[in-house]
Amino acid sequence: MSGFDQFKEVFITEAYELLDEMEQKLLAIDVDEPDNEEINAIFRCAHSIKGGAGAFGFSRLIAFTHVAEFLLDAIRNHQIALTRDIIDALLESVDVISAFLASAQSGEEAVEGIEDELKASLENLNKVNGNDVVEEEDEYGIFDEAALDEVFASNKRVVRKFSIFFKPEKDLFLSGNEPLFIIKELSRLGEMEYKTDISKLPSLEGLDPLECYISWNISITTDQDISRIKEVFEFVEGECQLDIELLEELQDNSVATAVDDEAAFGLFDDEPAPVKVEVTPKGQGVVSKPLVEKAIGNKNSGKAPAVSSLRVDIDKIDKMVNMVGEIVITQAMIMQRLKEVPAEYSESLNKGIDELSRYTRDLQEAVMSVRMQPVKSVFSRLPRIVRDISKKLGKKVNIIMQGESTEIDKTVIEQLADPLVHMIRNSVDHGIESPQKRLEKGKPEEGTIVLSADNSGGRILIEIKDDGAGINREKVKQIAIEKGIIAEDANISNEEIDLLIFAPGFSTAAEVTDVSGRGVGMDVVRKNIKDLGGDFEVDNRPGEGLTFLISLPLTLAILDGMIIAVGQEKYIIPINSIIETMQVSRSEINNVKGNDSVINVRGEFIPLVSLSAIFDVQNTAEESSKLLVVLVEYARNKLGIIVDELLGQQQVVIKNLEENSDPVEGISGATILGDGNVSLILDIAQISKMQAANKRALGIDKKVA
């Protein structure tokens, strides 16, 4: 990659970020009372994108962004009042800019004319409001004047001059306060001069060293406002006489001297140069200006702001995750070998291995946490979608998002985006009724969609809840029969009807709109979620609303597993799903209607499934009088799995089985054990379905249980 390309990459990534920011700010802004700061921020986004584009000669992007920027400029200068139409147009221009960026990234020219219509309407908005777009004559170069302005704008600050009279009470020292620190901190805010009044200082014999006799007259020139100055004296409030007065306020182009708050509280390790005070007998102390400047200058130029984040190529992280996975496997292998070593040698080695495994686990957690991202990155796209669709359909929908900071693996997030968008579209299109209908039903005119994410038992729960019409079961059943998804005389439960919406080819929409209704969708959504190892639940309350509950694994890479044996075969059950293991004697198993075995665990009847039966395993120990049952939980259901033996607990690296092979029912993936052999990881939700299906095939009604 040449240097230029590299800069281009940086520009594009940053432009996307700015664009995101712009979009979010546009969505959040209050049309009637727009916050000037917000409009400024939006303007700056557009401006920075234009500036950057200039450096790379993306002329169409520049020309287009310029019009949008011009409009924003007029708004921030109160020449044009913000309207909903303007926001709509600006949001659309976000899309157009995004298209330009995409083409800049791929190196292809963007489709001819994608910007024309919008550009015209933006220009029109400008004109209507008597604000003719001035063509920009500037030749953009790397040193684009506009961009430079932007840089300097941050330094062009209002500078205020304050006078402060600070007279501590006599017993100030008793509360542990030290005026010197306060004055030092004040000196960081700006250029300071002060006079120390020591006239109250008694003669040496009359002096009580525990009392304070001194007061100060300070004048300070700073870009901070009065509240920041008051903050400095926060701790001595009520223990001193303090008068702060604003003397003058002026625009200043000289380098502002603010030091950020954090620095002031000593996050930087270097102490500022000591403020040197020359005290003359009658107290005419003047801080030598160069020293203050030096102290402050150090702060401003000597240290770049602390780097709090770093952009890393995702490939590098994936490589790390893989390596850690291999370490975990190798370690398991060593542990396995160690069992063969005589005890007198293995003891000390075991200690070392224990320590190593602790570090490996920490390392693995650290690496995984790098991959974790807040779900916000997906959630944040949704308000825009809700807004656009509801507008198109003439509905009023409010979206509430909760738990946006819940973190989840990056791969999961990426693959979650499409299903979420789809379900939200569905909720708005099919779920939420039109305002009139809602009013008729006695619901508030505005529909609500609540999107929430939560961490629970090693899984992420995502809930999409709307207060719309819910699924009309009669209609769904009818359509399913028409489309041949179910037989006409099929006798299915309400829950099963609800699940029909996930059947391939199913669509409830009477006509195909461009919002939804093509019948490809919910089945894809379900498949995506399944592919991620997730479960899906629908809670349908016709007339009141519909709730989708998605439960996803935290990470796709490593899990804690219980290795179990059935016959000669070893399988892995994710520890997260295990509630307990227990020995059950045959007499405790209740046979409900033929083959359907359940056990009573503290008053709760839990269905049993025999792994050897569903997986057709030979030579099992199932004939013994006591059975070993692993009690597992999945998506609020419980299940007892009959196994032969528990072999121990181990961290396992999840390997994709389907990469080279077909999916296997009841198996979510595979891993490599310490002996180098492959072991399969059980998919609890599927296993319970296999058990249910087995029974149905045998003609046994499962509902009796």
Partner: protein, 167 residues
């Protein structure tokens, strides 16, 4: 002719020459295009995949990747290879997937001209094989059947699904 051989020795595929790896399954000689072959390894125990067809012997760990192993004999004549360490697994890349096929032994590498490969597909002894035959090569007076592994693979997966449905 001499020129041609030099080209082949250099591994160039400029000419119409093709190279095949031949192997034995149930006493017949089969061949696969060497471009598909990734490596040859000894047999090792596999992990059984529940509810799969008998010719799918299970999966193994190939340096961290999990690959399925198919038993060609079981596929062709419905009888499992009694595999021991003398048996060989040919690891192949087929349509972006990596799979292993269990055979009795590998024997040779053949270099043949394209026009030496006959494409009449109805000449094998085993009926089951016909569907996967890509061509026939006559070598040292013996008939070598070249297999289209991608066909076998597609066949295997399709049939397997059908089988598990029946179950």
């Amino acid at each position: 002719m001499e020129n041609n051989e030099i080209e082949v020795l250099e591994g160039a595929s400029l000419s119409s020459n093709q190279q095949f790896l031949t192997f034995l399954v149930n006493k017949s000689i089969y061949a696969v295009n060497i471009m598909n072959v990734m490596e040859i390894r000894g047999w090792c125990e596999t992990t059984r995949i529940p509810n799969s067809a008998i010719y799918k012997r299970g999966v193994i760990n190939l340096r961290g990747f999990i690959i399925p192993i198919f038993d060609l004999k079981a596929r062709f004549v419905g009888e499992l290879t009694k595999a021991n360490e003398k048996n060989v697994v040919i690891v192949m890349s087929v349509r972006d997937k990596t799979i292993g096929i269990l055979v009795d032994a590998v024997s040779d590498i053949l270099t043949v001209e394209a026009d030496e490969i006959k494409t009449d597909p109805h000449h094998s002894n085993e009926k089951e094989v016909d569907a996967f035959v890509d061509g026939l090569i006559s070598h040292d007076g013996k008939m070598v059947i070249t297999l289209d592994i991608s066909k076998i693979f597609a066949e295997i997966t399709r049939e397997e699904n059908a089988l598990s449905d029946v179950k």
